[in-house]
């Protein structure tokens, strides 16, 4: 549900209400442009007052984002967007708080704050621009760069296992995780709307093409030719079916998921798993999030959206309860509490 606490705009808003007067300085062809388009689509649709959006970012190409949307914005320091945004949301829960961060910003230097904001389930929305590279600093490998990839700091190929973002988020007890390719603005807009509706930390991983330093990093999944074969777009309540003839699907056998062809080996549509994004048990969600080629499709859409209390709500609740029962209602009460005496 959209947050009842956040005041709605009295008039319908449009894209133009959020258009910034700043020049967008991302490279032409950068995936960032599509993310901006999706956000401009979704903010008016969410319908909160335009003063009730705050965008916080760290440092990186992706973190330029706040300048390009006309809201309250805070461009922080490298890795700390999640920590800064935690403060914004706890202090001012009437804001709809959005975080723009890169793969390095969130999972290298900011890894600590990233897992903790997720674990606390603070009600913010994280746009994770994953281009599997450090863009702003011109092409060093990041914590999501695939093993063996040659980059400026790995001339012989990296020798590090990358994070799978979904695994990290769900491992940190994430309540909302979605993945979208940057070349499907329609899906991204839908997913961002779902993220806004979720109570708690929502992480939306956007597979973002960096045309300059990591071009086509996701093309085996996102290119026009490959995407139908290699993407499974999840929809709640629908079977996990994909492929150009809609004849591929996911089944659960034993404790593992398998990609199968319907009609082969006695598999029928009834055997295909139905997606339940609201399932509190993250087991299947974790398996879905980890799936990748060549044996599996890459899952897109909302993988998990589980109900759980949010940190910021509980903060407010504790204050309300404390005010009801406490003897100390103002600082003068406090100063004069306990042992005092007159001289």
């Amino acid at each position: 549900m959209l947050d009842k606490r956040i005041e709605k705009s009295p008039v319908p808003l449009t894209k133009e209400d959020f258009a910034s007067d700043q020049m967008v300085k991302w490279c032409p062809g950068c995936g960032g442009h599509a993310i901006l388009a999706a956000v401009e689509n979704v903010f008016p649709r969410i319908g909160y007052k335009k003063e009730n959006f705050t965008i916080v970012s760290g440092i990186g190409c992706s973190s330029r984002f706040p300048y390009y949307v006309h809201t309250y914005g805070f461009h922080g320091i490298h890795g700390r967007a999640t920590a800064i945004a935690s403060g914004v949301k706890i202090a001012n829960p009437d804001q709809s708080v959005w975080i723009a961060t890169g793969d390095g910003d969130s999972m290298a230097i900011g890894g600590n704050h990233f897992i903790h904001i997720i674990r606390r389930n603070i009600d913010v929305n994280i746009l994770l621009f994953n281009n599997q590279i450090y863009g702003l600093t011109k092409g060093q490998y990041s914590p999501t760069t695939p093993m063996g990839q040659v980059t400026k700091t790995s001339p012989q190929g990296t020798i590090e296992n990358p994070f799978i973002t979904a695994g990290l988020v769900l491992g940190a007890q994430g309540t909302f995780f979605a993945r979208v390719p940057d070349n499907n603005v329609k899906l991204m807009t839908e997913v961002l709307y779902e993220a806004a509706k979720h109570d708690g930390t929502s992480v939306v991983e956007i597979l973002e093409n960096c045309v300059i330093f990591n071009d086509k990093a996701f093309s085996s999944v996102t290119s026009r030719e490959k995407r139908v074969e290699n993407q499974l777009i999840l929809r709640h309540g629908e079977p996990m079916i994909y492929g150009k003839d809609n004849d591929m699907g996911i089944i659960l056998k034993g404790t593992s998921l398998y990609a199968v062809k319907i009609g082969v080996g006695g598999i029928t549509e009834k055997d295909i798993l139905i997606h339940d994004q609201f399932n509190p048990d993250p087991g299947i969600h974790r398996m879905l999030g980890r799936m990748m080629g060549p044996d599996y499709p890459v899952v897109m859409g909302v993988i998990r959206s589980a109900k759980a209390p949010t940190y910021d709500d509980m903060v407010e609740e504790q204050i309300v309860n404390a005010k009801k029962s406490a003897k100390i209602q103002c600082v003068d009460d406090l100063l004069n509490s306990g042992d005092t005496w007159e001289i």
Binding site: E51, S57, G73, I84, S86, G87, I90, V331, N336, I343
Partner: protein
Amino acid sequence: MAKQKNILELEDVVVKFVGDSGDGMQLTGTLFSDTAALAGNDLATFPDFPAEIRAPQNTVAGVSGFQVHLGQRKIFTSGDMCDVLVAMNPASLKANLKWAKPGATIIVDESAFDEKGIEKAGYKTSPLEDGSLNSYHLIKAPISVLTKESLSNVEIDKKMAEKTKNMFVLGMMYFLFQRNLDSTLDFILKKFSNKPEVVKANQVALKAGYNFAETVEAIASTIKVGPAPMEKGRYRNITGNIATSWGLLAASERSGRPLFLGSYPITPATEILMELAKHKSLGVKVFQAEDEIAGICSAIGASFAGSMAVTTTSGPGLSLKSEAMGLAVITELPLVIVNVQRAGPSTGMPTKSEQSDLLQALFGRNGEAPMIVIAASSPANCFHYAYMAAKLSMEHMTPVLLLTDGQMGFGSELFKIPKVADMPEINPPIAQPRDPDFKPYRRDSVTLARKWAIPGTEGLRHRIGGLEKTNIDGNVSTDPLNHELMVNIREDKVMRVANYIPEQEVFGDESGDLLVVGWGGTEGMLKSAVSQMQNEGHKISMAQFNYIMPLPKNTVDVFSKFKKIIVCELNNGQFVKYLRMTLPEFKYRQHNKVQGLPFHVKELSEVFTKILEEK
């Protein structure tokens, strides 16, 4: 019938209670202090905890102590050496004898000096028998045994009975100081209200101790410390960390900005985090972050969102916060950073105090990142300086770093309770909805403060951040002249705070042969030495700085009226370096100590005397 005892009248007395961690010395010391305060004494206290949480029983590592300095005059410090030492076991005697004045009264629990106890303390022979205490006034009493005997009619288990021996010894001390038992009896009643037998045991033990002291011959005289002349008013005892917490709460209430604390536990600052966490009824939001960086960053976010934001830490944590402090400087947001100093570098000596971080506070950031730096100088005035830190930060829209230290943080003294309504007003420059002139970096022409535009306010959407911005408009800019302008404005803004802080005061005559200069937590120690030498007729005065960046406007004036200046610090000379670079026209001598210990009056008077004698 007890013999009539003599009465020894004293200006001031230092008492130290020491024992094993489990012996309840902190409580004993606190109750003794409260009773002294009720009797009108001025006082200051300092606890001396073991570094280990559960050190082996009855070893030197497990000794816990509580020192109180009380007087019928103004008391400046918790005292150097003690006049009365109460030692509950051999280990505590061993660890603390060096802090007893020659001829001091030593009260020991004789029952604890058995073979095992003596050996565990690392003594070869019993110090009670081998003559090593001959130069002291030793009062031996089998306290544990007597306590148990006194409880023979109370239904209580052995362990509990053993535990009340601290009340027995407190009773003895109350006789020695001719104190009234009522407030302690009352305290016991309230504390154990649902355990009547425990109330009875403690009260019986307290009275038994008092009666025993009255009859025992070893106590030939009682001590009288009369009421100190004090300003009329309502008082309480307070530690520096609590005073800091309350000063912040008062500033939040007075300014109308809700308090947000983002912090990570670290000795000796943790108590502020714990204290503020208790006061949700005052609307405080306390965020225990995953590390110090998240502590300050969440506070910066909260400040952007309109809260009076605070982060608290100690030296190593301050190092972690450096980058984010620069962010608060460039975004020109209010933020109070409290640093309760401890001995460094690195982990250093966490439980020992030191004036360790002044240079870090002044200069420990990348780029030109000026910051207001204030230091509290006594446990009670932490309240005032925390309040002022918040006031200056919000009114001038720039971060303020408040320095206290472990000695102040844990130490206590009497605090005259103010009324919040009597505290100076705090008026943050909050931008009004739909202000047509609003620009992120448009400034007040006098203070140079920008406006605080709080998310949610209509018509004020804007972006700020760590990238350099154009003045007024706040657009990202690498323009060379704009950068220089912004650097200079941020500096000027901090320097102009000198117009809003009090002038530097001098303790003693405004001119003379020697000016003793200190800052922060050494105030009481320096004052004790200086006032003693003033009484001896020396032309010596003292200037203790609380406002460090910027310095009070009259600092040059103050310095120029003395023939010699000596800067005394519990570090290797940080303030003196700063003075040499900011006011190079003066010659500064320096006296430094970096032992994790306070200055002692004797060492200071020796240093000052020597300088005064120099040609």
